[in-house]
């Protein structure tokens, strides 16, 4: 088990390294940072001086090495727009996104997982048809439109909820629902499929032959086996949640990382963009790693590979 964890950890680290190289290259293609960071009245000599201080005349791999070694220590450079260390800016906004994401995930798991499983158990019933429609709609609606329609209905027409910003629990409802929507539909579809596969197997038949009550057949025999593919695929779909924050936060003006990225792009604040994308990728890769380990714990067959 330990060997497996180590192996996966190294793979994750390599992947992250690769992505960091790509991100670093990209931001250096996007224009001359020295030019951007200088005030408008700077002379060419001033810009050159800045370039030297920033080490922009060094060969590429030296620059990258500086970048990476700084990053590992937490120094991601300074934000052009805010004038503060990038990491500090990021940290100030991250809790907001975390809150939004957390509530959205909660919503997803509470609604999506049981919907899919009950659909599978009661195959062909009205619940199943409803569930399937719900899942299909969820995956066909663009996230931003869901948000906009919610605002239209609950803020404009009914006037119950505020349209944007952060504040009370009322501000949290619509963004969390919007963010979780796609993933909920996706999870419902996934868990239905996985559950159907499991319910079809011989060992479920055996459990019924043994006289195990149906509730226990589902809860003990079916569930654990169904969770195995659900967890893996759900983790892969977690990306949609990260993606979704960008759009949801833009629609609702939620002060989180998603909106920070978009604003920074338009403000040409490349160090900040770089920081955000890099951290997001790292989070994503390590979430994947965590899920893989969880998966190995649930399914004993993986451990022995």
């Amino acid at each position: 088990m330990l060997r497996y964890i180590l192996k996966r950890f190294i793979q994750a680290a390599i992947c992250l390294l690769g992505i960091s190289i790509i991100i670093f290259m990209l931001s250096h293609l996007s224009g001359d940072p020295a030019l951007l960071m200088s005030p408008p009245e700077a002379t060419p000599e001033d810009i050159d001086q800045l370039r030297m201080t920033l080490g922009l005349n060094e060969p590429f791999h030296i620059q990258y090495w500086v970048f990476i070694s700084n990053a590992v220590q937490g120094d991601f450079g300074e934000s052009i727009r805010w004038g503060k260390p990038c990491l500090e800016v990021w940290l100030s906004r991250f809790p907001n996104t975390l809150l939004l994401g957390g509530v959205a995930m909660l919503f997803t798991i509470i609604v999506g997982l049981p919907t899919g499983m009950i659909s599978a158990v009661k195959l062909g019933s009205w619940f199943d048809n409803f569930g399937k429609t719900f899942a299909l709609m969820g995956q066909s609606l663009p996230v931003f439109w869901v948000g906009l329609m919610l605002i239209l209905f609950f803020s404009v027409v009914l006037g119950w909820l505020p349209t944007s910003g952060m504040g009370s629990w009322r501000h949290l409802l619509m963004p969390a629902f919007t963010l979780g929507w796609y993933f909920t539909a996706s999870l419902a579809r996934l868990s239905r499929s996985a559950m159907l596969d499991v319910l079809d197997s011989e060992y479920i038949k055996m459990a019924r032959i043994k006289g195990v009550p149906e509730s226990l057949v589902i809860a003990k025999h079916a569930l654990r086996n169904a969770l195995v593919p659900i967890v893996t695929l759900a983790a892969l779909n977690l990306i949609t949640l990260i993606n979704g924050t960008v759009i949801t936060e833009t629609v609702f003006n939620w002060p989180g990382i998603g909106r920070l990225i978009v604003d920074s792009i338009f403000a040409r604040d490349y160090p900040l963009v770089q920081t955000c994308v890099l951290i997001a990728s790292a989070l994503f890769i390590f979430t994947n790693l965590f899920v893989d380990i969880l998966y190995a714990y649930i399914d004993p067959r993986i451990r022995y590979q």
Binding site: C15, S140, P142, W145, I261, V273, F284
Partner: protein, 302 residues
């Protein structure tokens, strides 16, 4: 028990039974998602012949007719069927032109990503060995990237334009095809007809093109149909953020972004584009699902 009794029993039970093979075909045709097909055809027609059917010039501003509601509401008229936006532009015409944009981007992306993905899958699956390992590692890296983040980063670097969007979406899209099709290639490779072709002396390229490819076309078609919906959503999301097809071209996503600012007094500006996206994507998904069941009943994917 005699014949008569037995046949009477059968008639009693046959309330759930249907007739034979003629009704089999009819059932299959009945279950086809005709509404989806119609919607997609309308979408195609708008995309290809839009300039001939739109009632007004989508880019022409008219400040005397700003913020007209749709025709059934007070202040609306049949001339501006679905209403006008804050610059007096006809929403319906903009929707039609937007269909053209989405269609172009959609079909080009699924074609290019499909070709790239298929080539990678064929090489990787059929040749195996280190080619497979390297290609699959690359594919996995691309698959594990948070697409919107990367799309945003790329869009920021390259600048918003239709061609850039196509490029970005192809870069992010080919990996999905590659992974699934590689699985199919591996399955088809085991067939005896492939072994016979090898024995007959066919070159590897020939085998890949003439023997393996036709057998994975089914899966490719299903994937492409399902991808159409995904691509349209991605493109409209990027346009919504301002990183996609730039104004004044009326991409559906940017129309929604415009509409957001006027949501209190002109709900129709952001309503119609989103609804249209929903209809097209839903149709593509339904069609893709139906194709998947029809073309390969053993195709069990999520």
């Amino acid at each position: 028990m005699g014949d008569l009794e037995r046949s009477q029993r059968v008639t009693n039970i046959s309330w759930l039974a249907k007739r034979n093979s003629v009704s089999k075909i009819r059932t299959a045709m009945r279950k086809a998602p005709w509404v989806s097909v119609v919607i997609l055809i309308v979408f195609l027609v708008c995309g290809l012949f839009g300039t001939f059917i739109m009632p007004h010039d989508p880019l022409k501003t008219n400040f005397t007719e700003t913020l007209n509601p749709p025709f059934w509401q007070e202040g609306g008229s049949l001339r501006y069927f679905l209403g006008t936006d804050y610059m007096g532009r006809d929403i319906l015409s903009r929707l039609i032109q937007g269909a053209g944009i989405s269609m172009q981007v959609g079909f080009i992306v699924i074609t290019l990503a499909g070709i790239l993905g298929t080539v990678v899958a064929l090489l990787s699956g059929y040749l195996g060995g280190w080619v497979d390992t390297i290609l699959m590692r690359i594919t996995d890296t691309f698959l594990s990237m948070p697409y919107l983040m990367i799309a945003i980063a790329l869009a920021a670097v390259l600048g918003p334009s239709k061609n850039n969007i196509i490029l970005i979406l192809v870069i992010l899209g080919w990996a999905g095809y590659a992974r699934v099709l590689r699985g199919e290639v591996l399955r088809v490779k085991e067939g005896d007809f492939v072994r016979l072709a090898i024995v007959a002396g066919c070159s590897k390229t020939r085998i890949m093109l003439r023997h393996i490819f036709p057998n994975i076309v089914n899966t490719l078609v299903v994937l492409a149909t399902l991808q159409l919906g995904i691509v349209i959503i991605m493109e409209s999301s990027l346009s919504f953020l301002g990183l996609g097809v730039p104004p004044p071209e009326p991409a559906w996503g940017s129309m929604c972004a415009d509409g957001r600012l006027h949501i209190f007094n002109a709900w129709w500006i952001c309503f119609w584009p989103g609804l249209v996206i929903l209809l097209v994507v839903l149709s593509a998904n339904l069609l893709g699902d139906w194709l998947r069941v029809r073309l390969d009943p053993k195709f069990r994917q999520l």
